[in-house]
Structures are given as structure tokens and as C-alpha cells.
């Protein structure tokens, strides 16, 4: 593992460490937290006590709880809750446009996206969930090794800056996954719509986190500027940038509104994070929403 990957992982874990271990459906009992999985609120295979019920003929004898049975006239069977872990599919955009930052005081968008994504993965893995990183070869999806591999992959992606391709649903993904997409979503809304629609069959829930540089939000430039795209969009000369600022902000709001409308339609969540803000707020919000869903 390269040292920069280590650094990235370290940063991510540090961001994650300030939160309680993330668990989807955290309203389960505390004991399941230590297991790292969450019960299905019905009897089944698992370690957590669920209920005593009266013995029936079909039950094997080893399931009888003799201590409980001794207290009453009936024979009781101890049932345990059915545990099952969930899989989350995570995508961090590392395309060239994500490598932007407006000043040296803020990190690049792809750095921030990776930190938040990895922190989320770290929380989930430490909670026993499975995490798949979209856009990479499927590999270990739980445990610390998976986290390490993910950090490694993200690190390489930040350096390589692959072309921006919104991931689509793949057959290899399990069903009922949670999809988390972290990007600037500055590509045409149609691309986003087609990509997101592909998940509808598979995903039980989805979350979009838009990472933006503050300069992208407010266009704080003045004067005569030749703007240059980062993904071969071409260039554009604007005589007085301050004149177009208002239009730009309106257009950005429009774009975001259409994204929000898209996610609403799919029942997914949508939130915005700016790189000049600490990552914890975004992570906490994301975590909250993932925990709230059933």
C-alpha cells in the first residue's frame, strides 16, 4: 500500500471516528451493534434473543430453554432474531473535473469525495455491512481489508482521473442494496437520469451527495476571463465575469433543482456539500439518512 493511500485511509477513519459506528437501521438493540449486523425483527438465525415461545412438536430438543421451562408449567423454546447484513454500493467521482479547487485553502473535490465516501465505508464496514465500490472490480466487501483496498483504489483513481462515467446498475450487484453516489453532478441531467434509473430495479434506497467547490457555487471572479473546461468541453471568453454571475447562480440552482426532482422521483435522497465546510456535517447527514431508511 502506498503511503498516500495510507494517508487517505487515515484521514477517512479520522472523519469516521467522530461518529458512533454507523448502522443502517440503528434503532435495533445495542447488542446487535457489537455484532455489526441488524436483525430482521423476526425469529431466525442469529445470536440475539428474540422471544420465548411454547414448544411445538417440530422444534428440535436443543432449542428448549430449560431454565425458562423450569419456571412454568410449559416448555419454552428460546428463539433468536434473524440477522442479516446489507450491502451498500458506493461511487466516488474521480473524473478530471473533480480535481478542481478554487484556492489552496480548500481540498479538491475528488479528495473530499473520497474522504467522505471512505468514511462512510469505514463506518459501515465496522458495523458489519458490506460495501462495494462502484467502478472497480468487485473484491472483498467487508472487513478491514476491504477498506484498505477501497482506499487504494480511490487513491489510484484520484491520480489517474478516469473519464467521468456515471455508473449504471450491474448484474453482479445483489438486490436491495443502498446506492451512494458522490460527485459534483455537473454532467447533463439526462446522463444522470439514465444512470439513476438503471438502479431502480436493484436498489432499495439511494443517496446523492453533490460535492461543490465554493467558487462553483458563487462564481466569485471578476473581469475578462477565458474559462477552460476540464473534460474537453472547450473554452469560453467572458468579458466581464461579474455580469454573468447572477445568470450562472440561477443556472446552477436550476441544475440542482432538476437533480433534486430526479432523486425525489426515485425516492432517493439528495444533499450538497461544499469543500470549504468540514466533511463531518455531510457525513453525519448522509449517515442519518441511511440510518433512517428501513
Amino acid at each position: 500500500m502506498t503511503s498516500s493511500a495510507q494517508v487517505l485511509q487515515h484521514n477517512a477513519e479520522q472523519a469516521a471516528s467522530t461518529l458512533p459506528p454507523l448502522l443502517i437501521n440503528a434503532n435495533r438493540v445495542a447488542a446487535t451493534v457489537s455484532l455489526g449486523s441488524h436483525g430482521r425483527r423476526r425469529a431466525g438465525p442469529g445470536d440475539t434473543f428474540w422471544q420465548f415461545r411454547q414448544y411445538s412438536q417440530s422444534d428440535p430438543a436443543y432449542m428448549i430453554d430449560w431454565r425458562q421451562s423450569a419456571k412454568f408449567d410449559h416448555v419454552f423454546v428460546r428463539e433468536r432474531e434473524w440477522d442479516a447484513s446489507q450491502t451498500a454500493a458506493l461511487w466516488c467521482d474521480c473524473s478530471p473535473s473533480m480535481a478542481f479547487r478554487s484556492s489552496k485553502k480548500v481540498p479538491t473535490k475528488s479528495e473530499r469525495a473520497s474522504v467522505i465516501g471512505l468514511a462512510l465505508a469505514s463506518l459501515m464496514i465496522s458495523g458489519g455491512e458490506r460495501v462495494r465500490l462502484l467502478g472497480f472490480e468487485p473484491s472483498a466487501s467487508s472487513g478491514r481489508l476491504a477498506l484498505i483496498q477501497m482506499a487504494h483504489n480511490l487513491e489510484r483513481a484520484i491520480t489517474d482521473q478516469p473519464a467521468s462515467t456515471v455508473p449504471v446498475a450491474q448484474a453482479s450487484l445483489p438486490r436491495h442494496i443502498s446506492v451512494v453516489l458522490i460527485s459534483d453532478f455537473l454532467f447533463p441531467i439526462e446522463e444522470a437520469e439514465s444512470a439513476l434509473s438503471s438502479f431502480t430495479g436493484q436498489a432499495s434506497s439511494g443517496h446523492l451527495l453533490q460535492i461543490l467547490d465554493p467558487a462553483e457555487e458563487s462564481l466569485p471572479y471578476r473581469g475578462r476571463i477565458r474559462f477552460q473546461g476540464m473534460e474537453n468541453e472547450g473554452s469560453l471568453l467572458i468579458e466581464r465575469t461579474e455580469d454573468v454571475r447572477k445568470d450562472y447562480i440561477g443556472k446552477m440552482a436550476e441544475h440542482r433543482a432538476s437533480l433534486a426532482a430526479l432523486t425525489d422521483r426515485l425516492g432517493w435522497s439528495f444533499s450538497v456539500h461544499h469543500t470549504d465546510k468540514p466533511p463531518h456535517t455531510a457525513l453525519a447527514a448522509l449517515h442519518m439518512r441511511m440510518a433512517e431508511e428501513r
Binding site: 478542481f100 475578462r224 477565458r226 474559462f227 477552460q228 450562472y248
Partner: protein
């Protein structure tokens, strides 16, 4: 040519180019600044947007201002502005008259600076220049004056120095008139402020050429001249009065000048004040100094003045006065105590140059005082020789004698009666008579009269009217003992007793010395009789324009002896010392200067200003161009920044570069950082542990012997005493420090060479600061390889000859070395019986001898091999003697470590006796 305040432009028409500035401004205004390049991810959102106003992007006003000022600066610079340009007739020729005589020397630096500034301005406008100096230049024909280039004149001006003689404005004017410059020409006269007869004429002539500016010093009070000086007769010692003059002027303010007397080495001997009252130009300063101090004085100078006239050189006439003693024995003093000239010679030797001989011989040289000690009459040829000398100021002292019976010759101050007078003789009832108190008007007034001076025989003066005025000393009964008479400038003094103790005890008394000194102070010194001088006197040292004595240049020629009294001082005969061999005549500038009068009146239309008014012209072109360049660079960087190109030079990297440069500088100067305090590790070792040491002789076997001997002794010391020492050190006095070692053993070999200067210096320092060296120079048969004992002694002598060896003495029985630890009857080594020498009662080291010299080969007796077996037999007493030699070694080290406190044991019997009582 155009002027704006203090700034003048050489090419003012270039300034018209400033008219293009509005055009430039318009151009800059319509040209939009280059677009800044910016990569931006959300460019998709920007596509299709157009700013409302097409020409809205403009160069910022401050950037435009900067560019315009840059262009303005360049235009102004090309017009070549000059600051403080002299408002003068720029293209006309320039006539510069500089006073460079003695009076200009004190203000020479500012005068020269003003001159140089003036000529620099002339160079700028390529004006033809005549540079005329008023003091005669160095000997040789004066080149006729003519207009030359200003740069040549500037070179001359830079090399110009003040002269040590007066100016001659008359001849300078003549030379100017010969040059016949055609008007108009501007004239500048840098005057020294001392008036001359030619001033008005010169000013008028210069004014006829064109405008005349007179530059003079506004700060200095005017030059001060010293001299002449004269010796004032004074009973208190040596008084020299020197005339001090300053330029006469009605407005002269009161002023105090300090006059300093210097000795040969330039140290201040005495100091006197010259007080000028308001309006006066002449005063005097008095030096009252004891004779001994007065003899040291070589020159008088005016404090804070540096001209040739502010120095008054004193020659032999002013210092030790030569005294001739005529004794009965023409060969001088052959038999002390009996010879009649002996007592006077002894009395005067510390205070004067005493010469002995006959009158004829003595008068060949220049003498202030002649003592006729014999009491014989003076023959008439001698009188003929002496009288002119007396007229010139000689002092003749005569003593009575058996043959001075009555008025035998004319050189007597009083008339004498025939026959002497004797007190207390065998046939007389009277007792010898003592001296009375000296009369108040006598030069001897104030001297204490000793009561042990008794006069038994004297010659008597005829009573006369003037006798009491001529009497300088009396006996208790009122008869004259010393009489004197003035002869022109000179004196004749008669002692009415003999110069030997035959007639009185006066010659034996200290009062005789004082009396002779008082008479000596009375003598003014005699002008050198020119006839005894060589015909031509070459210059020994001459005074420079700043009053320094320098080696005369070859242009100075020998001065004729007849010209000394009134020399024509100038480049041929500058003031200074003249003569050769014993002759050293001071020729001073001060006395030869006529009346000094300050310049006051100038024609009305002459501009008179100070030197500082010639301000340095300063061309502003390079500065303006520099600022323009700086603005250009700043503009360039700002445009880069505006286009979004920022230089990738983080602060951290700059810091690192600075740090590494600083480090390089540090490394490059290692002597500052590290070299200074490096201490020889051997010294550190030696200081941390006390140890014995021996001088490395260079001979392997001897060095080994010394090492083994001192090593064995160290072990013995550790076993028997509390002196536990480290291994002995071998040292080379040339390179090593000796001071850490309490005692150094030096085995002298026949080949020993004397120590070098540096080594001797080290050793002498060591000895002087309380070190101790034991020289062991065995010369017995068998002690050295080739039985060359003689050479060992010789080598020792050679070594000691280079060192500061105190007086030595053979060690006494009671010396502390005999008892500092063991009681030892003698100090044997491998041999015994030879004398051992120590210092004879050292004062600086509290009686502890710094040197011990012996020849017992101690180290050989002490030496043991690695198994502890002795290496050399001790003769004649074998092991018993070896034990004694160890005991000597112990005593030696104890002596070196503890000093002489055991010497107190000599009092032990007395103390014990007192205690038991």
C-alpha cells in the same frame, strides 16, 4: 538649458515628448487587458452566457497610472536632469584660483572637496579651465598657465595638497596675466582668508574677466601660527614662551587655543593655553616644565590645527643644554674625587650634555654654559674667545682657587681682594662658617640651606655699591659666597670657593647640584654660531603642509648657513630640521610669517560664500532610469498575475534557499565559527590531571630515559605522598603550552640547540608566571654517549643564553629543596657531588626558584624498566644513593607544588623554645 528649482535639464527639448502621454493613455484605455485564463469545471453552465457591456473590461486606473509614470520617468531621464547645478556662465571659460599655502591647510579637505565639485561641474559642460595655485609649487620652473581641459584640471585638483609655506599672490597674478585669458570668463577664488597686498588688485583683475565668486571657510576661526618662542629665565625650572598669532580682525572673538608640547614619540609632554582677547591677534603661551621634562620636548603644536605654521619645532638649543667644564687636567676627569672638574661634572650629568676640555676646544662647539673648575686665571686669548660667547648669551661659572688671587683677569663679576680668608685653621680662632638663607632676588631663592655646608676658606670681594645686588648666596657672616654679573645676554657667576671640597663642603652637598641647575636654567642657550656650522645644511626632515615631519623630497636643496637666520621659506627651503650628523637646526615657518591679517573687504559685486555653497551636482538620470525599470518589472509581474500566471515560488522554498545560502556563508568562514576557540586536546588533558613534563630533546634514548625516570618518580610520589599524578607528558616548547605543568624536566644533551625565538618566548612566559624548569646537564664520564661532557655544559650555556635567567646561586644547605618533604643532606642523582644552582631570592615568585640547574642525571637514577628494575647504576653509592635521588625527586615535586612554606621551619627551634617556656 532649462531649470526647474534645483533641477536643471541638459536636453530640455526631449521633455516635449511628454506630450505623447495622453495618446498613450488613450491607447492603454482602448486596449483591453489580456484575458485571464481559468480552468473551471462548471463551464457547461456558462456556455451561452454573454456579458452585457462589450468594452467593459479595462485596464485598472492604477496600472495605467503606473505605466504612464514609467514612460514619464524615461522621458525625463533622457532629458538628463542635474540637481544643484551651479548657476553660472556655463559655456564660458573658468578661471580657478586656489590658495594652497600654509593658511589653507587647516581647512584643506573642505577646500579641496569644493574645488573638486566645481571642476566636476566644469567637466560636465566641457568648459576650458585655468587652475592657478597661489603658493609657489614645488621647486622648479612654474609652467605658464593656459586654458586646459577641465578633466586635466580635475586630476590636478585631486592631487593638490596644502603647502608648508606662504602664498605668493603677486606672482600668481602675474602668471594669470601672462596667460591673458580673454573675457568673458567666470572666476572662482578659493581664498584662505589671510589678506595680502595683492588681494584687491587680483579681485579687480578677475572681475574684469567676468563674474568673480570668492569661496572661503565660514566655519574655521582662521589659521593659527606659532612662533617665535624663547626661553624665559625663571627660577622654577624651564619656561618656554611661544608667541601665538591669529589673523587680525576687528571682529575677532575671544578664543582659547591649546598648545601642546610633544616628545620624540609624539606623546603629550605639556600643555599650555593661549588666550586671545577680543580683537587681539597676538598672544603667547607659557610652558613651565621641570628641566627633565623640558628636555623631552621636540615640538609644540596647536591643538586641532594642522598646518605647517601650527607646528613649532624645537631643536637641541631648546632641550639638553651643552655644558663645558674646563678642568686643570686637559684630559678630563682621570682621577675621580680629586680632580677639580669631578664634582661639577657629577652634578650636571643628569641634566645636561657635559663636555670636558680646554676653553679653546670647548668653544668650537655650541655651549650654553662653561664651568671653569680649575680656579686658574683666564689667559687673554681665552678672554678674547669667551667674551663674544658671553655676549651671545653664554653663562660662565668660575670657581676660586689658589691662583685666583685678586683681579687676575676681566672675567670676574666682582672685584676681589688679594689674598683669601681662612676660618678654623690650625692657627685661627674662628670656626668654619655655614651658609645663610639665599636672598629673595637670587636665582637660588627658595632652595633649602643645608646646615652641613661649612666654608673654611674663601676669596673675598671688594666691598662696592653693587655688591649686594650681585650676590646670589652669602655665608652666615654676610660675606658673598656666589656672585654674578650680567654681561650682555650672558652671565658670569663666581663661586668664592673651590670646585673641590678643599675649601668647603659645598661641592659635597646636594645644594650644589640645585644651584648649578638653577644657573643652567638661567642660560637661554646660545645661538649656534654660524661659523661653526658646515656651509650647506641639507634637510633632515621637513614639515608637510599638514604639519607632519616627512622625508624631504629630492627637490629640497641644502640651505646655506648664512640663510638660517632669515630663511626664504618656500618649495626650495621648506620648514623642518636641517643639518646632518650632530647638527640639527629647526627652521620654523611661524616666525617668518609677517603680520597675519584677515581678509575683510571685497569689491561690492563680488559674491563671497562658503565652500559648502558649491553643492555637489548630482545627475538624476541613472536614478530615474532605475525607477522606470523597477516600475516596468512591477508592471510585468502584475500583468502576469492578472493573467492568472503566478510564479511557482512558494515561500518555503525561498526560505530554504536563504537558509542554505546563510549556511554556505557560515561554512565558508570556518575560522569565525569554529577555529577561534579550539583548544589543543593535550592541553585539556594536562589541565584536567596534574602531571610532570619533560622537554623533548629529539634524541630517542634521552627522551625515553626522561619518560622512564619521570614515570618511576610519579609512582614513587603516588606511593609515598598525596601527590597522585598522571603519566608524564613530553612537550615541545615551540608548539606546546608549558603552563599546565608544575615542573618541567629538561635533560640537556650535547646536541641540544638553543631554543627558537618562539620557544624561548614560551619558556620565558612560563618562568615569569611561576613555572619551574629543572635543567639536568650531566657532564660526568659515562653520562653521555661519547663522553662529551664539555659539550653538554656548552649546550646548557647556549640554552640559558636565550632565556631570562635570574641571578643564580649555589644551593645553600638551608634551602627548602633540602627539606620540603625529606630532610636531605645533598641532592644526588645517578651521580653526586656536583653543585646545584637555584635562583637567588626571587621576588616575583615569593622566593621559589623558577630554575634549578644540576648535573646529577636525576632521571637516569629514577628510571626503571617495565618490570620495575632500575636501568642505570647509581655511582658511587649504589641503591642507597638511588633512594636518596628518589627522595630528592619527591622534594623537588613538593617544592614545585607547595612552594616555600617549609622554609618557615627555620623558625621551628625558636617557636619550640618559646612554646616550652
Amino acid at each position: 538649458m532649462m531649470s526647474l528649482g534645483a533641477v536643471t535639464f541638459a536636453f530640455p527639448w526631449i521633455l516635449t515628448a511628454l506630450a505623447i502621454l495622453p495618446l498613450v493613455w488613450l491607447l492603454l484605455r482602448v486596449t483591453p487587458p489580456a484575458a485571464r485564463r481559468l480552468t473551471f469545471p462548471a463551464i457547461r453552465l456558462l456556455f451561452g452566457m454573454v456579458s452585457n457591456e462589450k468594452s467593459s473590461a479595462r485596464t485598472p486606473w492604477w496600472l495605467m497610472l503606473m505605466r504612464l509614470s514609467c514612460i514619464t520617468l524615461i522621458i525625463i531621464a533622457l532629458a538628463d536632469p542635474v540637481l544643484n547645478q551651479r548657476q553660472s556662465m556655463r559655456q564660458s571659460p573658468l578661471v580657478v584660483v586656489v590658495d594652497d599655502g600654509w593658511a589653507a591647510a587647516s581647512t584643506w579637505p573642505e577646500r579641496q572637496a569644493a574645488l573638486v565639485r566645481l571642476l566636476e561641474s566644469a567637466v560636465r559642460y566641457t568648459r576650458p579651465v585655468i587652475l592657478a595655485t597661489t603658493a609657489p609649487a614645488d621647486a622648479g620652473a612654474q609652467n605658464p598657465l593656459s586654458f586646459g581641459s577641465a578633466s586635466d584640471a580635475l586630476a590636478v585638483a585631486r592631487a593638490l595638497e596644502a603647502k608648508s609655506w606662504s602664498t605668493d599672490r603677486q606672482s600668481a597674478l602675474q602668471r594669470l596675466q601672462d596667460a591673458n585669458p580673454r573675457p568673458p570668463a567666470e572666476s572662482v577664488w578659493l581664498t584662505d582668508g589671510v589678506a595680502s597686498d595683492t588681494d584687491i588688485e587680483m579681485a579687480a583683475w578677475l572681475q574684469r574677466l567676468g563674474r568673480l565668486t570668492v569661496l572661503t571657510s565660514t566655519t574655521a576661526a582662521g589659521p593659527i601660527a606659532l612662533g617665535p618662542a624663547e626661553r624665559v629665565p625663571d627660577s622654577n625650572g624651564n619656561t618656554i614662551e611661544v608667541t601665538v598669532r591669529r589673523p587680525a580682525s576687528e571682529s575677532a572673538v575671544p578664543m582659547i587655543s591649546n598648545i601642546i608640547a610633544l616628545d620624540q614619540a609624539g606623546r603629550t609632554v605639556a600643555r599650555a593655553e593661549a588666550n586671545f582677547d577680543a580683537g587681539t591677534a597676538v598672544t603667547s603661551a607659557r610652558f613651565v616644565v621641570p628641566t627633565e621634562l623640558g628636555n623631552l620636548m621636540t615640538q609644540l603644536i596647536v591643538e586641532n590645527e594642522s598646518s605647517a605654521a601650527s607646528v613649532f619645532l624645537l631643536d637641541d638649543r631648546w632641550t639638553r643644554r651643552p655644558v663645558g667644564i674646563v678642568s686643570a687636567n686637559p684630559d678630563g676627569i682621570v682621577t675621580p674625587l680629586l680632580e677639580d672638574g669631578f664634582y661639577a661634572t657629577q652634578a650636571l650629568l643628569p641634566y645636561a650634555d657635559v663636555h670636558a676640555g680646554t676653553i679653546v676646544e670647548l668653544l668650537e662647539r655650541n655651549l650654553a654654559m662653561i664651568i671653569l673648575a680649575s680656579g686658574n686665571r683666564v689667559t687673554s686669548p681665552e678672554v678674547a674667545l669667551l667674551e663674544p660667547w658671553l655676549h651671545r648669551g653664554g653663562v660662565l661659572i668660575r670657581f676660586a682657587g689658589a691662583t685666583l688671587d685678586g683681579n687676575v683677569d676681566p672675567l670676574l663679576p666682582v672685584r676681589l681682594r688679594g689674598g683669601g680668608r681662612t676660618f678654623g685653621g690650625t692657627m685661627s680662632w674662628t670656626e668654619p662658617v655655614g651658609m645663610a638663607t639665599f636672598p629673595d632676588d637670587s636665582p637660588f631663592a627658595g632652595l633649602a640651606v643645608p646646615d652641613d655646608v661649612l666654608v673654611s676658606t674663601q676669596v673675598l670681594a671688594e666691598p662696592s655699591a653693587g655688591l649686594s645686588q650681585r650676590t646670589w648666596a652669602r655665608l652666615e657672616d654676610g660675606t658673598p659666597l656666589v656672585t654674578a654679573e650680567r654681561r650682555d645676554s650672558g652671565w658670569i657667576v663666581l663661586f668664592h670657593v673651590t670646585a673641590t671640597p678643599n675649601w668647603s663642603t659645598l661641592p659635597l652637598s646636594g645644594v650644589m647640584v640645585d644651584m648649578l641647575r638653577r644657573i643652567l636654567d638661567l642660560s637661554r642657550g646660545v645661538e649656534e654660531a654660524t661659523s661653526v656650522l658646515p656651509q650647506g645644511l641639507s634637510a633632515r626632515e621637513i614639515l608637510s603642509g599638514t604639519g607632519q615631519l616627512i622625508v624631504p623630497p629630492p627637490t629640497v636643496v641644502a640651505i646655506d648657513r648664512d640663510d638660517i637666520a632669515d630663511p626664504d621659506l618656500g618649495p626650495t627651503y621648506p620648514p623642518g630640521y636641517y643639518g646632518s650628523g650632530d647638527t640639527k637646526i629647526a627652521i620654523n615657518l611661524g616666525p617668518s610669517i609677517g603680520p597675519i591679517v584677515g581678509q575683510g573687504r571685497w569689491p561690492s559685486d563680488v559674491t563671497v560664500t562658503g565652500f559648502e555653497s558649491v553643492a555637489a551636482e548630482r545627475t538624476l538620470k541613472p536614478w530615474l532610469l532605475f525607477f522606470a525599470l523597477a516600475l516596468f518589472v512591477i508592471d510585468f509581474m502584475i500583468s502576469l498575475f492578472l493573467r492568472g500566471i503566478t510564479p511557482q515560488l512558494p515561500l518555503a522554498r525561498v526560505g530554504a534557499a536563504t537558509a542554505s545560502i546563510a549556511l554556505l556563508i557560515l561554512i565558508a568562514s570556518p575560522h569565525h565559527a569554529l577555529g577561534a576557540d579550539a583548544i589543543d586536546p593535550a592541553v585539556i588533558d594536562a589541565v584536567l590531571e596534574t602531571r610532570l613534563a619533560y622537554i623533548r630533546t629529539g634524541r630517542q634514548d634521552i627522551d625515553q630515559l626522561s619518560a622512564q625516570g619521570l614515570g618511576a618518580l610519579t609512582k614513587v610520589l603516588a606511593a609515598r605522598t598525596s601527590a597522585v599524578m598522571a603519566t608524564p607528558a613530553d612537550i615541545n616548547p615551540e608548539t606546546d603550552e608549558l603552563f599546565p605543568y608544575p615542573v618541567v624536566y629538561w635533560r640537556i644533551t650535547p646536541e641540544q640547540t638553543p631554543p627558537s625565538e618562539k620557544a624561548a618566548q614560551h619558556i620565558n612566559d612560563y618562568l615569569g608566571r611561576g613555572g619551574m624548569i629543572v635543567f639536568d646537564a650531566p657532564n660526568q664520564v659515562g653520562a653521555n654517549a661519547n663522553d662529551d661532557g664539555q659539550q653538554v655544559s656548552q649546550a646548557l650555556n647556549n640554552v640559558l643564553a636565550r632565556l631570562n635567567v635570574p641571578p643564580l646561586v649555589q644551593i645553600p644547605e638551608t634551602h627548602v629543596l633540602h627539606r620540603s618533604f625529606y630532610l636531605l643532606p645533598d641532592l644526588p642523582g645517578r651521580f653526586t657531588g656536583a653543585p646545584v644552582y637555584v635562583e637567588r631570592g626571587s621576588i616575583t615568585t615569593d622566593g621559589v626558584s623558577s630554575i634549578i640547574i644540576g648535573s646529577h642525571d636525576w632521571a637516569a637514577a629514577w628510571a626503571r624498566d617495565s618490570r620495575g628494575l632500575p636501568l642505570y647504576p647509581a655511582v658511587p653509592s649504589g641503591e642507597r644513593q638511588r633512594e636518596w635521588s628518589y627522595r630528592f625527586g619527591v622534594n623537588l615535586v613538593m617544592y614545585a607544588l607547595t612552594g616555600n612554606y617549609k622554609a618557615d621551619q627555620v623558625h621551628l627551634p625558636a617557636i619550640m623554645q618559646r612554646l616550652t617556656q
